[in-house]
């Protein structure tokens, strides 16, 4: 079979698998977030937390609980890194440098998993599994909690509350992420991933050299890293490392895991608002954009249109033989379409247009299908903007799911959309304006600009992948990108929760003759259009100076 044919079947098989679990997983998550029963473990957890699980919260209290949890998380992750030499299982690693520890703490708490460090030479096992991997779970659960809270805003009538943050957090972690991660981790070990607590094992190679074989609790971290769309690798080489991604089928499974929750959440949304068709419309928007992007990335990478790939005969630099070009391109598109940022091949060495696709995917705002939870709430904001634009055309007050999109709602939605472009473009401009920061680029010319633009795009959109040639473990980049991650995560979350609160208070208006149906292909097409046009208008000038200039030269 040809590489292209095999690559296309790989994509089709993923679509089929995601389709098969869409309903069962989406319905399961619906039950998790709506049931009134707490199980034994959860009752114990709530007692330890000292929270009343049945008390509902207004959006303000919900947001403050979420922010308090995130601030404490950042402090704990920072502290554990700084004290790692005094903790068990440190493997003799030194305390992590202050600016790297700060950046890393923010990075994992914001579900970004940008890595300014190299795992195998910086982090001991305890920090990896008890600080970083814990955030892989809970940051994903926070994303889902916000998505569910926003959906409750649409679903409720004349309500002052949008749920209980602690309950949403605990249920998302323990009932959804934990069981899937556990099974996923064991299947990955069966494929060859390692799962042990042994230190470095020195061996003498066949030709008499020495090689240090690393150990670590890798599979347990790998499973949640993909499932929670986190992406922070146990090792520097991330999912290209044979211990993180051993075979061509573990590669398939990892792509599946990082897509499965984001693509099932629209079903949960449809069930929560009582109209599954609305969920299918959102799913269709995500699916159309995602499939187009995956196919284009494949076309560009298989085409190999740049001098070095032409000389080589294939875009194989930075790619593994067992995955090949096509499955690497599919992984790259999937990891940037979701906010994962794990990599099984190195985007810096992709063809100019292939690399641009990974950047464009992130610039979409991580909505197709986006991160766990964050993809859904981002997409719902875009749907709100779409009905507003449509309402302007015919001069009617726009509505979505029976809720009026008035001045307050559209202000919140617009501010939400503006946050990341502001962070990306201003951050890139500052870096390019300073010779010292430009010196961090590995490559020169347009490709160097792409490295910087990619870094700020990745941090602000909480993706975490990189054009990894750039040197970012400097204080300036650690602080700048850390700020982008914090603001890029929590400003949109607060705005989304405020929107949820304001929608929940409304009484729904019955659909009239002039109401725009939001479950038809026409609406799907409009949301796709609005998404692409907003992004294109915002980022085209920057892309033109980077990857487009490189690709056309």
């Amino acid at each position: 079979m040809s590489t292209t044919a095999a690559g296309m079947i790989f994509i089709v098989s993923l679509i089929v698998a995601l389709g098969l679990v869409h309903k069962p997983l989406g319905d399961y998550m619906y039950r998790v977030y709506t049931t009134t029963r707490h199980n034994v473990v959860e009752r114990g957890v709530y007692r330890l937390l000292g929270v009343r699980a049945d008390a509902e919260q207004s959006w303000g209290v919900y947001a403050r609980s979420l922010l308090a949890f995130s601030v404490i998380s950042i402090l704990v992750v920072y502290g554990m890194q700084r004290l790692q030499d005094k903790l068990p299982l440190s493997l003799g690693m030194k305390p992590v440098t202050d600016h790297i520890a700060w950046n890393t703490a923010i990075s994992f708490v914001t579900n970004t998993n940008w890595q300014a460090y190299s795992g195998e030479s910086t982090m001991g096992y305890l920090v990896q599994m008890s600080a970083l991997a814990v955030q892989n779970f809970v940051s994903a659960a926070v994303g889902m909690a916000v998505a569910i809270a926003l959906v409750r805003g649409f679903a409720r009538r004349k309500a002052d509350t949008i749920g209980n943050f602690w309950v949403d957090l605990v249920r998302g972690s323990l009932r959804i992420l934990l069981p899937i991660a556990f099974v996923g981790a064991l299947v990955l070990v069966a494929g060859g991933l390692i799962q042990n607590l042994s230190g470095l094992h020195e061996v003498t190679t066949l030709t008499g050299g020495t090689q240090g074989i690393t150990g670590g609790p890798v599979a347990s971290q790998e499973a949640i890293k993909e499932l929670g769309t986190n992406g922070g690798g146990f090792y520097n080489a991330n999912s290209a490392h044979p211990f993180e991604n051993t075979t061509n089928w573990t590669n398939w499974l990892e792509v599946f895991l990082l897509l499965v929750i984001p693509f099932a959440l629209p079903r949960t949304f449809g069930k929560l608002v009582g109209q599954v068709k609305q969920g299918y419309a959102i799913l269709a928007v995500m699916g159309v954009i995602a499939l187009t992007s995956v196919l284009l990335t494949n076309v560009f990478e298989l085409g190999g249109n740049a001098t070095v790939p032409q000389a080589v005969g294939a875009a194989m630099e930075g790619k593994e033989v067992r995955f090949g070009v096509s499955d690497s391109a599919t992984f790259a598109a999937s990891t940037t379409l979701t906010s994962t940022g794990a990599v099984n091949s190195f985007h810096d060495s992709f063809t100019p247009f292939g690399g641009m696709m990974t950047m464009f995917n992130m610039m979409l705002g991580e909505v197709a299908p986006g991160g766990v939870g964050s993809g859904l709430y981002g997409m719902l904001i875009l749907a709100v903007i779409t009905v507003f634009v449509a309402g302007l055309m015919v001069g009617r007050t726009p509505e979505y799911l029976g809720k009026k999109i008035g001045a307050r709602e559209i202000k919140l939605a617009s501010l939400y959309f503006l946050v990341t472009p502001v962070l990306v473009l201003i951050g890139t401009a500052f870096a390019m304006g300073s010779a010292e920061q430009r010196a961090s680029m590995l490559n020169s010319g347009p490709h160097g600009l792409s490295e910087v633009l990619y870094a700020f795009t990745s941090a602000s959109n909480n993706n975490g992948s990189a054009f990894a040639g750039i040197t970012v473990n400097t204080p300036w980049y650690d602080v700048a990108l850390g700020l982008c991650m914090v603001f890029g995560r929590f400003l949109p979350i607060v705005l989304a929760l405020a929107l949820a609160g304001s929608l929940a208070r409304q009484a729904p208006v019955p659909a009239g003759a002039g109401t725009l149906p939001t479950h038809r292909p026409q609406f799907v097409g409009m949301v796709v259009g609005v998404t692409i046009i907003l992004v294109a208008l915002t980022f085209l000038p920057a892309l033109a100076l980077g990857p487009i200039a490189e690709g056309l030269s």
């Binding site: 308090a68 601030v71 981790a185 347990s220 398939w252």
Partner: protein, 273 residues
């Protein structure tokens, strides 16, 4: 608790939540997973370590370099791909090259561009295998065929003087060799494709992998190396080809990934043969 101000209560609840969830997800989950994995898949969970003569010689899924102390290929062994992990295949320093697809001009102080690295590897591997190492965009002396064009002359920037430029003229302009240390940034960059057809040296042989630990090479690269290995070991070529076949993993279910030959396992089975 109830008497405390609400902001303090929030943060206390948050602190307790971080601690409780850390115990559940950061201690119990990984330790239970480790226990089950060790019980069910002991060999794999511990890194698929392989032995020769009773001693551990590496991991079946981590690549190694098969070179002597000076970095020259040991000819009786199949060679792995180029690696950017430390000094090559160092699991404590995994990395890709991260060089871009249009990194084609060598640094003024001799730092090689990705294109020149590809050309140089291709030339060396071609010589080792007794085939042509020629590739598009490569000069016969194994560097990137790239011109910097100025109004009155052109420079083959990757060919340091006194090398003879790979072309004498470009669009009527005289082509000079590159003077070390000279800054040619102002010139227009023109890569020259040349006459080379499909290269005899496969793509994976001239590129570094993503991890720097790629345990595999393509069947084509194994095929290219087979005659040399057979000759060095004094065994039949058919026997070597059989062993390549035995150490090749195909696409799972016929469509996942690409066929790949495990280099360490192939070399181990040759040593045993």
């Amino acid at each position: 608790m109830e008497r405390l101000p609400s902001w303090l209560r929030q943060h206390l609840a948050a602190l307790r939540a971080v601690v409780v969830l850390t115990v559940l997800l950061g201690v119990i989950y990984p330790l239970v997973t480790t226990g089950v994995a060790q019980a069910l898949f002991n060999g794999k969970a511990n890194g698929s370590i392989v032995q020769a003569g009773g001693k551990d010689v590496g991991s079946a899924i981590i690549g190694q370099k098969f070179t002597d102390k000076d970095g020259n290929p040991v000819k009786k062994y199949f060679q792995s791909r180029p690696s950017a992990a430390g000094d090559g295949y160092d699991p404590t320093s995994t990395s890709a090259s991260n060089l871009g697809p249009d990194d084609i001009v060598d640094g003024p102080n001799g730092g090689q561009s990705l294109l020149t690295q590809v050309c140089a590897r291709s030339k060396a591997i071609g010589e080792l295998a007794g085939v042509s190492g020629a590739r598009p965009y490569c000069t016969p002396d194994g560097v990137g065929a790239v011109l910097k064009v100025f109004p009155d002359h052109a420079v083959s920037v990757n060919q340091a003087c006194p090398a003879t430029p790979f072309v004498a003229t470009y669009e009527g302009l005289k082509v000079e060799c590159g003077k070390p240390g000279e800054d040619y940034a102002a010139g227009r960059t023109v890569p020259v494709r040349g006459e080379a057809g499909t290269p005899a040296v496969p793509a994976d042989a001239v590129t570094a992998s993503g991890s720097g630990l790629d345990p595999h090479i393509s069947p084509a690269y194994a095929e290219l190396q087979a005659p040399r290995v057979a000759r060095e070991r004094g065994i039949a070529l058919d026997k070597v080809k059989q062993l390549i076949e035995a150490n090749t993993t195909g696409r799972t279910f016929g469509f996942m990934g690409e066929p790949a030959v495990n280099v360490l396992e192939l070399n181990l089975s040759l040593d045993k043969a």
